[in-house]
Subunit: 341 residues, 2 copies
C-alpha cells in the first residue's frame, strides 16, 4: 500500500492524498472524505522512511539510554516521556547496549530520522568536539558531561559532581566512626565513568581523614553481564571473607548496596548493627528496602526537568547550559554510629 494506490482508489492525485494526510494545503471537504475512507479501507500507513527522506527537519526527539535496564534511569525516563509528550513532540526511546557507542547511534538516528534534539542518558565522559559537530543538533548529556577540552557551547549537560558525592558518602561513614570501609565497584573501566569518579571521592575522603587505603577493602566485578543485585551480593561476600573487621561498605550504586545488604543478612550479619551500608543514586527500591538504604540521592526529577527545559530552549535557538546538581544524603536506617560515647 502506497500513497499512489490510495490516490488511485480515491480517484484523486497523489498530492491530494498527501495534503489530506498532513493537513497541508487546502482540500475540499468532499475529496477529503473520499481520501479518508480509501485510507481506512486499505489500512494505509504512510512510510516514514520515505517521509524522512524528503523532510529536512522533524519534531522527533530521541532519548538514548545506555543500559535501559538500569533502574536508576526509570524515574527520569518516565518524566522525560511525560514532559516531551506535553510539549507535543514525539519521543523515541532508544536503548544502547554496553558494547555499542551511543554517540554513533545518536548521529545515525539524527540523520535517519531527522531528529531535532537528542538526550544522552548514561554513557561516559569521552565525547569529543568533533562528534558533537557531526551530531549538529541540540544535545543534552544527562548524568555525564564531556571533557573540559570540548567547547561547552556545543552541548548542554545536567549532572552531579560524582567525585564530590563519592567523597560525601565516604565522609558520612567516617563521621559515624567507621574506619574499615569497603568499596564496591560494578565494573571498573579504563574510561572515566560516574562510577570511577565516585571511587576517586572515596579515596580522597580516606586520605583527608588520615585513613590508610587498603586495597583488600575494594571489590570489583569480574563478569560484566551479571545483574546489579548479584554483583553486590557476590562482592559483599568476598569483602567479608577477607575483612572480618570491616564495619561499613560504600556501594557506588543502590542496586549493589541492596545486593550487599542481602549478602550481609545471609551471612548472619545485621544491617546496620553489624555492618553499615550506604548506596548511591536514590532509586525507589532503596527506600522500600527493609531497612531503607542510606544513600546519596540524585535529584532525578529535577535533573530530568532541567534536561528537558534546556533541550527545548536549545531547539528554539537558545544557548547551551551546564548544570551540576547537588545530591542529598538520605539517612534512613542502614548505617549506624559506632563512635564510642
Amino acid at each position: 500500500m502506497t500513497i499512489k494506490d490510495i490516490a488511485q482508489a480515491a480517484g484523486v492525485g497523489i498530492s491530494t492524498v498527501s495534503r489530506v494526510i498532513n493537513n497541508s494545503g487546502p482540500v475540499s471537504e468532499k475529496t477529503r472524505k473520499k481520501v479518508m475512507s480509501a485510507i481506512s479501507e486499505h489500512n494505509f500507513i504512510p512510510n516514514n522512511s520515505a517521509r524522512n527522506l524528503k523532510i529536512s527537519q522533524s519534531k522527533n526527539i530521541a532519548l538514548m539510554v545506555k543500559g535501559i535496564t538500569n533502574p536508576f534511569f526509570n524515574k527520569m525516563i518516565r518524566i522525560i516521556e511525560r514532559e516531551v509528550a506535553l510539549r507535543g513532540y514525539p519521543l523515541l526511546i532508544q536503548n544502547v547496549d554496553y558494547s555499542v557507542n551511543e554517540m554513533d547511534v545518536a548521529i545515525q538516528e539524527a540523520q535517519d530520522r531527522n531528529l531535532c534534539g537528542v538526550i544522552m542518558m548514561g554513557g561516559s565522559f569521552t565525547y569529543t568536539e568533533e562528534r558533537f559537530r557531526q551530531l549538529s543538533i541540540p544535545c543534552v548529556l544527562l548524568t555525564v558531561k564531556a571533557d573540559k577540552s570540548v567547547d561547552p557551547s556545543l552541548y548542554s549537560s545536567v549532572c552531579i559532581d560524582d567525585e564530590k558525592e563519592g567523597y560525601r558518602a565516604t565522609e558520612y561513614l567516617i563521621s559515624l566512626g567507621h574506619k574499615r570501609i569497603g568499596f564496591i565497584h560494578h565494573s571498573p573501566s579504563d574510561i572515566p565513568t560516574p562510577s570511577s569518579l565516585r571511587y576517586k571521592g572515596y579515596l580522597r575522603a580516606l586520605e583527608e581523614h588520615g585513613i590508610a587505603f587498603d586495597p583488600s577493602l575494594v571489590a570489583s566485578n569480574p563478569a560484566a553481564d551479571a545483574s546489579g543485585f548479584d554483583v553486590g551480593f557476590q562482592l559483599m561476600k568476598q569483602l567479608h571473607a577477607r575483612n572480618r573487621d570491616m564495619t561499613a561498605v560504600f556501594a557506588h550504586a543502590d542496586i549493589l548496596a541492596i545486593g550487599a545488604a542481602k549478602a550481609a543478612f545471609v551471612l548472619g550479619l545485621d544491617v546496620p548493627n553489624d555492618i553499615s551500608i550506604v548506596g548511591f543514586d536514590g532509586i525507589e527500591m532503596a527506600e522500600y528496602y527493609h531497612p531503607s538504604i542510606d544513600t546519596i540521592h540524585q535529584p532525578a526529577q529535577q535533573m530530568a526537568l532541567s534536561c528537558i527545559e534546556t533541550l527545548f530552549d536549545m531547539i528554539q535557538g537558545g544557548k547551551s547550559q551546564h548544570m551540576t546538581y547537588n545530591c542529598v544524603l538520605l539517612k534512613r536506617g542502614s548505617c549506624k554510629n559506632i563512635n564510642t560515647v
Copy 2:
C-alpha cells in the same frame, strides 16, 4: 554528506561507493582504499531511511516493550539482546507507552524499517486477526496471547497461564491456614490483562475452598502513573486500615509485593509473622529483599529463549508455535503457616 559527495571526493561513481559500503559486487583494492579514506575523511554515514526505501527486506528485528520500566522485563530483555546478537541480527528495542497501541507501532516499524521479525513483550490480549495480517511478518507474543478466535498460525506466543497461577498463589496462602487474604491490583482495566486473569484465579481459589469473597479485601490503584512500589505501599495501608484481621496478601506483581511489605514494616507489622505476602513474577529484587518474597516465579529465561527460538524458526519459514510455561512457587520467607497444630 551523501554517497554522491563521497563518489565525487574519491573520483569514482556512486555505485562503486555503494559496493564498497555493502561489500556487494567486485571492487579493485585500489579504488576500495580510495573510497574508504574518502568516507572516513568526511565522516560519511549512509542514510538508513534511503536504504530502507530501496531494500525490500532486512535482518532487523524489533522488540516492542509495553512499559520498559517494568522490572519484570529486565531479564528477558537482556537475554533477548544477547541471543539476537548471537545470531548476527540487529535488534531494535522500542518502548511503547501505556497510552499507545503497541500493534500500531509494530506495524509502522515493520514497514518503515523492513523488519524481518517482531517480538511483543507485555501488552494485552486484544490483538485481532486483521492486525496480524497487516503486520505480515513473523511475530511472537511474549507473556500474552491473542484471543482464541484469532487464527493461531498467524503468530506465535510464549506465555503462562495467569489464571491458573493466580489460583496457585492464592491456594498456597489458603494451605498455610489463611482465610482473610487481600489482593492488590495495579490498575484494573476493562481489557483482559495478565493481571485481571490472576485476579480471576484468586477469586476461583477462594470459591473452591469455601472462603467467601470480601470486596473490602481487594485494593486497586487509582492513579495509573504511580510507580509499582508506591502503589503496593499505599494499597497495603488501605487494606490494613479496613481489615485488621487480614493475615495474608497476594500482590499480582512482585514490585507491588515489595511495596506492600514495606508498608507492613512501617505499620509495625512483621513479615511474615504478622502478615504473609506472596508476589508474582519472580523478579530478582524479590529475592534480594529481606525477607525474600515468596512468589510465583515465571521462567523468564526459558520463556525468552523459547521466544527467540520460535521467532527465528518462523523467519526461516517454520510454523508458528504456542507455548504455555508453568510457573514455580518459590517459598522463601515472606509467608507463614498459621494452621493450628
